[in-house]
Symmetry: C4
Subunit: 216 residues, 4 copies
């Protein structure tokens, strides 16, 4: 029997959407006694900046992994049980991000919080690399004539983030600020164009739509 | 390779659905000591009206932006990395709305809260305008023979809301109530019909269904 | 231009899924001091029964409305701006249910809580009736040769729930227990078979799948 | 009229995605007084291990049930009202899992918490078994020529988990640790390959896409 690829995509989209939106629950509206509200609010809101920063970093990095996951899935032609469970393991780490983000934003100058946040992101990245490795080894779930440069390129690109995170954790023994800067840097690495260019199925999709409209 | 347009739509639908539904978490059931419950509850619930009002305004304005986003996507025939990241930036602002709404409902008579709420909505609107500008400049991601009046019309319509929000923030220096009234007004502007009429693909979709039934 | 019907369905599915799952956040794990845990937990959990009851009622009634909404959409062949906004108004009421459910579960013997819960459900039901009325009047958005008995039947079925809720609110002046019993009764009315039978597109969908498999 | 199978799948995917991601809300960042932060944080985080463990068990078991549900749906060719309501009942139990998980993680050495967690999972499993029984009895909603070994095999596989959970509840009278170990064991049973192999429709799906491209 067959479990449609669109099903795992739907679950993944749901988990990503919920995890990305739950991040905001960590930014709590400051509670003030009424007489002080107008005067104290600006300072209290300014004090929330680590929350806003970690919200932004985590939201964008989840966006990066969401893109990476879909790009991999788009190459996969068939699947089996292990691949399905690698996907669920991947989502397990993704759904933990609201926790590790809240921990980081609360204890941003603590090495342990920095290490746990990094470890969470490393786990996501390595699971995604495992996903790609499992799917492409012996061309198990991809087209047999897939370009092997593309396979390697995608793997390198996937492993880039975990490497930077390991570096960030190591450097936190010197300066925690350096680690935070590296965390903020990773999304930028991925926003830059790579070997695999993303473009959605416009030509024929668009064409068929136009055709349908023409038929009308 | 191709990232299906339906994937970005699925993530966007998820983020919008979660953000719109999380808004309700800001309306908390009043806690009362048992002997007072029956007598104090009405007053306590009435005191929640700013929460209900801001819930309604934010829910509807998110609905407006959800529609606007999908209308734009429906014109887009192909995409690239920058367009993808504009989408994720757009969703980053959308997911912040439960926070800025909670802030506004708590400090509705404070200029800072009004300004932050407005700034959040302006950021959504400008990112949506950027999305349209990037997609339509040199007809980069839309049909080359798209009606240029339609392109301009959609841009004007998208920029209408940010302009009203800027006005609302400026007017908050005079009367905070005026700003709140303007925030409540914006959705109405968009509910009115525009140049681009929305109708879903009924004719041929319906036809194909009937055909399938006929084939049976 | 066209906004696909599947887009409004996706948003609706998302809002329903989140609202139905958020209901559980109202059931909080009892907090106990460690020495008492084993002995006090059973009583504390038993005291949660109004929470479990209202969770169940609201979950099932949201299921009823989710089915009703999709059944209506399946008849709709085209749409316009007003219909879109009726849909968003409908979802606005749906997303409020976690609040009104928490209120009811906290103040189940209070007429005001019963009335607000009922009013929320009435608002959902009447918006759904408005949706059907707007779509079918002059056969605006449905097949022109739709069976008019079916149109009336669906309307009667949709209005059934709001009528029972109005009755429940009125009867709360006599006994609040009667109102709660009526709230629990409504889902049962809808689980029973109606004129419009639900069955999904198995025959040809299944056929096409078999064909595809055969083609392989 | 027809309610598309993809609609119940979309609601199910949404409820599963939200329930799986809400599990993380039970893992709260420890609150510490600033002078102690660096020194006390490791111990406080270590003390969260029952939360992490129950998060993992529940996430994976929900993954198991999500797979099981979709596998069943993929065999179902048509549906009716009772089947629809069995689905909604199934989702009602699924959405309760964040509560029962939080209860278990708070009172892991308490028999009552173990029993309630197990009962929640048994309810999910039995509802899924009911779903299969109802759909396959007299081949009501499946292909008439479905392999009856497959029907029985799927039923046995579905009933395996509830049986282990009953055993876990019984054994909690001896040692609560044994029960917890059994809960952790169940997902492993399902990750192993079964009679019904999962593979997604790559070949012809890919083929049809290629064809479309070829038609271009």
């Amino acid at each position: 029997m067959q479990l449609g690829r669109n099903r795992i995509e739907a679950l993944a989209d749901g988990v990503f959407a919920v995890a990305m939106t739950l991040l905001v629950l960590d930014i709590k509206v400051p509670e003030l006694q009424p007489p002080l509200a107008t005067s104290e609010l600006p300072l209290k809101l300014l004090a929330l900046w680590p929350k806003f920063l970690s919200y932004t970093i985590s939201f964008v990095i989840l966006g990066v992994y969401w893109v990476g996951h879909h790009v991999q899935l788009s190459f996969i032609r068939r699947a089996d049980r292990p691949l399905l469970w690698i996907n669920i393991l991947f989502l397990l780490w993704v759904a933990l991000v609201p926790f590790s983000t809240a921990l980081l934003s609360e204890y941003a100058n603590t090495r342990l919080a920095i290490a746990i946040y990094g470890a969470n992101l490393i786990a996501i990245g390595l699971t995604l690399a495992l996903h790609w490795w499992y799917a492409t080894t012996k061309r198990r779930h991809v087209d047999p004539d897939i370009d092997s440069g593309l396979v390697r390129g995608a793997m390198h690109r996937t492993l880039m983030a975990p490497l930077v995170y390991i570096l960030a954790i190591v450097l936190s023994f010197l300066h925690t600020e350096v680690s935070l800067a590296l965390y903020a840097l990773v999304p930028i690495l991925y926003i830059l164009p790579g070997r695999i260019d993303i473009h959605w199925g416009g030509r024929h999709q668009g064409k068929s739509k136009t055709d349908q409209a023409g038929e009308k």
